[in-house]
Amino acid sequence: MQIPELKTTLREVKWELDGLSVIQLVSVTSIFTLFMIIPLVSVLYYAFVYQGSFSLFWIKQIFSDAFYFPDSLSSMSLTFYRRAGGNRILITGPDLGVIPNTIFVGTCTTIFATVIGVTLAFIFSRYDFPLKDYFRVAIMVPMLSIPFVGAIGLKKMIHADGFLNTLFYEKLGILPVKIGVEGLAAVIFVQTLMFYPIVYVNAFTAFMNIDPAMEEQAKNLGSHGFHLFRTVTLPLALPGIEAGAILTLILSIEDLGTPIVFQGTTAEKTLTYQIFTKIFTPKGLIRPDATALAAILLSISIFSFVAIRKYVSMRKYAMLTKGEAGKRMISKASKLQCVLIYMLLTGILFFALLPHIGVFLLAFSETWGTRLLPESFTIANFRAIFTNKDVIRAFTNSLSYSTAATFLIIVLGTSAAYLVSRKHIPGMSLLDTLVTLPISIPGVVIATGLFLVFLNSPLDPLKSPIPLLILSYTIRKFPFTVRSAFAGFEQTHVEFEEAALNLGASRLKTFVDISLKLVWMNILAGGMLSFVYCMNEVSTGIVIGSAKPEEGPITLKMLDVLYMLAGGPHMTAAIGVILMMLQLASILVSTYLLRQKATALISI
């Protein structure tokens, strides 16, 4: 860089960075450096060291192993289903080798989840129909993936002699064969239903934030129906949709829970499952081949994130007004539209809620053989857990940690989103990548790194895991709030803030009174997602929490109870139901607030 250019850049930086921004920038980067970058590097280190010196040996090794990356067409399997024993069809999906499998699953899940999420968001933001409020809550429920028992519940429902097949094939005779789903197909199916709420939440907010004047003007000019949607509504909502899609893609690539459910099939041949099972030797030493996989996983996530963001950044449109300058354009759905809407909603919900139905059935029974339903129902499991002091403590632990983490996330996440969206200085897209990175790092890698780095330090997990747990939750669930807040800032024109600054308001006052007020809906949506996911968090909770179990989160307790030999799954399911209720409550609160906001928003 030439000296004059350097001077210009420095001057720009000095102009952009006021006191507030500097504080924001420093807090965010230091937290991330200490609690994400350093632990991450301490683990990934092993992937790049061979016989004592830096080397790409392990990475090359992975790519030359047909198990991970196919060397020819013959090492891949492209059959999507197969027959198993006369009256059974198993939908499996392909097997292309671990790395292509992961990308394949991520792509399919993102596409399907985005289609579902955007469709639902559009329906809910533009149409009124009976029972809308109940459905509004119901479609969010699939997001509440219940650790461990969700898997058991789902399997009980879908496996060859499980609920669905027994009902539709044996009892009702609707299906000519039993249908089983396993392998990559199962992962895509489950993930789509698990993640579409993320796209929905962000797309809904985006649709609600569109100035109706835009659509009105377009209609006046003759556009309507699908054309209107495609040329006006969709592009204006793109930042929100993009936020949801990126999160879905990265979460899908990083998802460990679903492959674990379908282990024993090709679902295992995905990057996170391989890393999870192979990262430690039985003695507890770190395997370089597994860390190489982690490095590859991270690269894929970063690449996808950057690519999508680049694509969308070329097509973003900020609006001069927000929400409604006039009346919200919600139309009452016609009878036909109602019928279609109900069909769509029940179809989606039926499949998405299978794990939850399974969990409920498990929670309210003590044994469940291979029949259609449990033999008898009881509330004994709930009585047992409410009188168990360890379980109660674990719940309060999780609530405290999640709340503390969400507070940190909201403060720092909004700051980060603001910096990335508003400050045009070098390094901001790097910051953006940095704060979105956590969701693409497998939990087990962060947990291991945190453990290694902070053992024997003031934050030693063996002395008390609480600080590390709160910090790891903060880091890991950061991106939800950041992306939502970012979408909000992107949808809001910077002229609002410029107007305030012109009128003499300080940066801080502008930030708090103008910027935050305009995007608080987005922040709330993202913050709620972050809180819910904190409560659900498994990987770091069980690794760091196990250092001192009485200070561990509820997910650690669930694992403990699950392995209890008698009635373990049933008691764990009862805990799962309570967990679900708590999270549902937080969703209800923010859904309610969002709805209020939509009609009460004041715009300039």
């Binding site: 674990i260 030797t281 003695k283 395997r287 370089p288 940690y401 109870v561 392995y563 008698a566």
Partner: protein, 458 residues
């Protein structure tokens, strides 16, 4: 604006306050800290029973604190101090950490220890140090076999298996997996089972058998997942440690635990005093309780279904209520097990686990394909029995590869020679596994080609 800042702060304050409220108050009296791999149910039942005894009151023990730690962290956690007792986790774990344990010396505990035999059915129930003092003693025993789901095998026309060979036979091959097995890296109990097979049948034939079992079945990440699979009817059989089987039987008469007669062993699950404990006397009192007839009766609780190490317990009130377990107990101790050497198993354990992942687990699809082709050809009469045996032997035989121009084979001696390095050096392990995986891929391919040429040519 103010509300938005105040509310989150309030929430945080409430959260912190809640944390403090629920912190346990300091208690008067001794709290014993026990590091364990036993599950919650065992902890709850023993804790409740023990704290009510006169013994507990006599030694002023007011609470038991259990720390469930994965095996690889035992050394770290014990090293930090504060642990009094180690309980449950299998002899391998205790032997690996033998230097962290302290011999039992008190009169009270030794009275119980001496009432327990040194061996049962050929397996050690105690471990002695150089001076002949007891360092650990078994508080429960287990055997290894498999669980059968009768609905499944009836539905698909499978005979009830009685031996490990039955599980490896072509009769157990269907279009879908029929057996559940766990990968040894992530299951210590299934590791034990593979070691039993390797010692019962010999190294080479043992691997051939394990390969065929795996090819008939499906590999899971842990013993509980494999167990769950047979309980739900996902598969027809799961290899398992005995108490999984007993628990299943109690829950569901459709499930049956089968002990392969003459082909299994008994394991003693240890309890021991930890080096540096500050409550040696109280800790020994607890250990004495666990080993006493009164304490042993807890194993017979219908939620636990474990085999006690002291047979006398079946003559008590509690014991008489469990004739089913008594029958199984007799079956277990009279089962003439194989000659099993713990030291031999340990001598190649690390290599065995890594080899399994490289050759059987990662290449599972390839293995299944070739096995299926061979069995199909045999069923169709395209190859005869002799050819069938030849091909299947070739399939599961320990692999060979070239290194520096020489041929190296995974013999038992080779496995032992590299075992320590595999255990301590993950880089070395990763490199070796690459060689084995490539060699196995080639081997499976060669078998397949051999099969094709026999079909067309022969």
């Amino acid at each position: 604006m103010k509300a938005k800042i105040v509310v989150p702060i309030l929430l945080v304050i409430i959260a912190v306050a809640a944390l403090m409220v629920f912190r346990k108050p300091k208690e008067e009296g001794i709290v014993l800290t026990i590091i364990t791999r036993h599950d919650t149910a065992i902890q709850l039942i023993f804790e409740e029973a023990f704290l009510q005894t006169d013994l507990a009151k006599q030694y002023n023990i007011v609470d038991l604190k259990f720390i469930g730690t994965p095996p690889q962290y035992w050394r770290t956690v014990i090293g930090r101090g504060g642990i009094d007792i180690a309980w449950g986790g299998g002899p391998t774990l205790f032997n690996e950490n033998i230097d962290l344990l302290q011999p039992l010396t008190g009169e009270l505990v030794m009275k119980e220890v001496n009432a327990i035999p040194d061996t049962i059915a050929g397996s050690s129930m105690k471990r002695f140090d150089d001076q002949g003092r007891v360092v650990w003693v078994a508080s429960a025993i287990s055997s290894f076999g498999f669980i059968v789901n009768h609905n499944f095998i009836d539905k698909y026309g499978l005979d009830k298996p009685q031996t490990w060979e039955d599980l490896a036979s072509p009769d157990f091959l269907r279009d879908f997996p029929t057996i559940a097995m766990a990968k040894p890296f992530t299951s210590t109990s299934h590791t034990r089972i593979y070691e039993i097979i390797l010692q019962a049948f010999g190294w080479e034939d043992g691997w051939r058998l394990i390969s065929r079992m795996a090819a008939n079945g499906r590999l899971y990440g842990g013993s509980v997942e494999a167990w769950s699979a047979v309980e739900t009817g996902e598969v027809g059989v799961s290899i398992a440690i005995d108490f999984y089987g007993y628990t299943s039987q109690v829950k569901d008469p459709n499930l049956e635990y089968v002990l392969p007669q003459g082909e299994t062993i008994i394991n003693g699950d240890p309890i021991a005093l930890v080096n540096g404990t500050k409550h040696a006397e109280a800790a020994e009192a607890f250990i004495a309780y666990v080993l006493s007839v009164e304490g042993q009766a807890n194993w017979l609780n219908p939620r636990l279904n474990r085999m006690p190490v002291r047979g006398e317990v079946f003559r008590t009130e509690a014991g008489k209520k469990r004739p089913d377990l008594y029958r199984l107990y007799n079956l277990t101790i009279t089962n003439i097990g194989i000659e099993f050497s713990d030291d031999l198993a340990l001598s190649y354990e690390a290599t065995m686990r890594a080899y399994f992942e490289a050759v059987i687990s990662d290449l599972h699809s390839e293995l299944v394909n070739v096995w299926r082709s061979i069995v199909q050809a045999y069923r169709d009469g395209k190859i005869n029995e002799e050819q069938f045996n030849m091909l299947t032997d070739m399939l599961g035989t320990p692999v060979s590869w070239t290194e520096d121009g020489k041929t190296v084979t995974m013999t038992i001696e080779y496995a032992q020679s590299i075992n320590e390095k595999i255990r301590m050096d993950p880089e070395f392990q990763a490199q070796e596994m690459v060689k084995w995986k490539d060699a196995a891929r080639e081997q499976y391919q060669r078998v397949y080609e051999e099969l094709q040429s026999l079909i067309s040519g022969g």
